[in-house]
Symmetry: C2
Subunit: 390 residues, 2 copies
């Protein structure tokens, strides 16, 4: 008898075979969710340190390597994504060979481009922040004339977790940033700075048949552009809730999403505008694992596999705190003993990632009728696990 | 690039390595739960058709093969069990080499022997049903004299899911059964038959340090001795709840349990007596995955790994229905589409098992403030998945 490979064990007939490009924590939690419905998940990981190597089936390769993607597709009926850093033309080539790809490459192309997204939504009547493209140093003054003196600069593509965003405190600095970015070939735009933004996120799931379900809006909290916590549900009036849910639904429809779509919104003079979207499971909905009838991960799987969607009902108020690495010498797994002792209600989720400052190593959810209190309780546990104080 | 084995990927330092003997659905759901705390789980499976081959690490071998168990122990800090069909002396030999084993072999020895269990509990003042050992055909009449004419016959060991239990409808049949069983070397006893029993189960979790938490009592429903459904919480008076929780706690203490312990009780003239126990995750607590702050699976892992226990709070009323195979030609995975469509609130758990009449292929949980309604809703989904009508 020898140790056999779990990933070499055959997939039985009747199982929907889902491939995931990218082996991060989103793929990890999707693979974990897939066990319940007995869906076969195969993850394309970079190497054995990837978070999602816990999946039943693992394939190794780079997400931009056509051979690796086709090898993944050899064993899959549907391909979906852990991250957006995948070439849309490469995804289209998988569709040509008969594999389904959700989100569709066309959806992804718009979702990852903030200017294209704003244009598509604005044309469809969905509220978006005013965005002015900056083609050169001189155009910064034009943006100031329209948006006022306090600008945020963003690259249209590639920004996440605080990357691709600049907060220049004077015109000269703004011009210098624009000059450098444009010189590098980046597409850059300006928005008016909102000093203390009220930010929410609405998670939508949309089936292959267009059926759409919306999770209750949550309030998100960021530090340096990185999500540090979530309160579910967000404290909104019925009217506001109705408006943002409608916006989120409409956004999913415009983008022709299949799977989950996180719609991030920011309050702008009383109106919630769509600042960005992610057509994959999203940090703002991690709480759904513990708080909701169906988690975002299971609903994403159901949607891409063509199954009926599950209820998005929140069973309890919840607070989520991210566990962001601080000291690389502190491994949260070695702190479980202390951290779990301070909060018996903590739902801890660790991602099997090497500790590194600023890295998302896990998250903690606490269920409590008071979401603000829940978030405070969750944050205490994240801190006890060695997370950075934010 | 080749497909590498997920099970060959190294376990990182800081992770508690838990080995599970047996690859059934209990090991499957424990492995699934282990992902959240980033605990490494290695399961000893019989072959690649085993339910728990989705675990990150899989070892193949028979549970009664010393070499297989020692191979499992080579990679583990703690060994625990998916089923009780493991030789206690073999488990003791693992402890001798320095591996922790929970439940302890001494606990297991009592838990799997209904007469030994009743004796231990009775001596400690815990209410148990009257059990009369039957050494020969003639002793049946003695039992009738004490217990009345309607008897249940049980073997002291090896009975589960309706096996090892007989309901003779007259003295002659009872005598014939006893004669045969005693002839085979079985230890047999009689209990008074309770015609329409009110049955409950209380799940307890006990840490290495003796810390104990109790899940709210649930009502269980059986058909032909197999659990078909659960309502959580059971509809009991505060006084009853308090009494049965105390009984369950005391039972865990008497048996010196580490890990979870399911205490099955039956109402007997107004008193809940302990009919049997299982020192492993149990069907009656599957609902905790979806209904409770901490599932029985995570709490079992926490306990055996020496971590603080999680809250056993029920977040919502729940009903659970088992999916018992009916027609071997019907694969529940091929019925997901129909079944999920009728109940968006269903939490379906499939075990990756070949359909076979009477086999536990999965379970369905529905959260609803009314546990009886929840069970009805769950049963409809189980039926739509091809489960037998009970």
């Amino acid at each position: 008898m020898t140790t056999l490979a779990a990933s070499q064990i055959g997939t039985r007939p009747g199982t929907t075979r889902v491939g995931i490009v990218g082996g991060g924590q989103l793929a990890r939690m999707t693979a974990q969710a897939a066990v319940s419905l007995d869906m076969s998940v195969r993850v394309l990981c970079r190497d054995d340190s990837d978070s999602a190597t816990i999946a039943h089936h693992v394939e190794f390769g780079e997400p931009d390597d056509p051979a690796a993607l086709h090898r993944l597709a050899d064993h899959c009926d549907v391909i979906t994504l852990d991250h957006e850093l995948v070439d849309t033309a490469l995804l289209a080539s998988l569709i040509e060979r008969g594999v389904s790809v959700y989100p569709r490459p066309e959806t992804l192309a718009v979702a990852i481009d903030k200017l294209a997204l704003a244009k598509a939504l604005r044309e469809a009547g969905v509220p978006v922040p005013e965005r002015i493209e900056l083609n050169n140093k001189a155009s910064v003054q034009d943006a100031v004339d329209i948006l006022g003196p306090n600008l945020v600069l963003k690259t249209s593509r590639g920004g996440y977790d605080g990357r691709g965003v600049w907060f220049p405190d004077n015109l000269g600095k703004a011009e210098a940033i624009v000059e450098e970015l444009v010189g590098q070939g980046s597409i850059v735009f300006a928005e008016a700075l909102i000093p203390e933004p009220f930010e929410i996120a609405v998670m939508v799931v949309r089936g292959r048949d267009g059926a759409t379900e919306v999770y209750p809006p949550v309030r998100t909290f960021q530090a340096d552009g990185i999500c540090v916590g979530v309160e579910a549900p967000a404290s909104l009036s019925d009217e506001q809730t109705h408006a943002v849910e409608r916006t989120a639904r409409r956004t999913a429809e415009i983008l022709d999403v299949v799977g989950v779509l996180a719609v991030e919104m920011i309050e702008n003079d009383g109106v919630f505008t769509v600042s960005e979207v992610a057509c994959r499971p999203h940090n703002s909905a991690h709480h759904t694992i513990d708080s909701s009838v169906t988690s975002q991960f299971e609903n994403h799987l159901r949607a891409v596999a063509g199954l009926p969607l599950g209820s998005t009902r929140l069973v309890s108020g919840a607070g989520m705190a991210n566990l962001l690495g601080a000291d690389p010498a502190i491994d949260p797994r070695e702190r479980l003993d202390q951290a779990l002792a301070i909060e018996p209600e903590a739902n801890v989720h660790l991602y099997m990632k090497e500790p590194r400052a600023g890295r998302k190593l896990g998250h903690v959810t606490v269920l409590d009728p008071d979401p603000a209190m829940a978030r405070v309780r969750a944050a205490k546990v994240a801190s006890a696990l060695g997370g950075s104080e934010v």
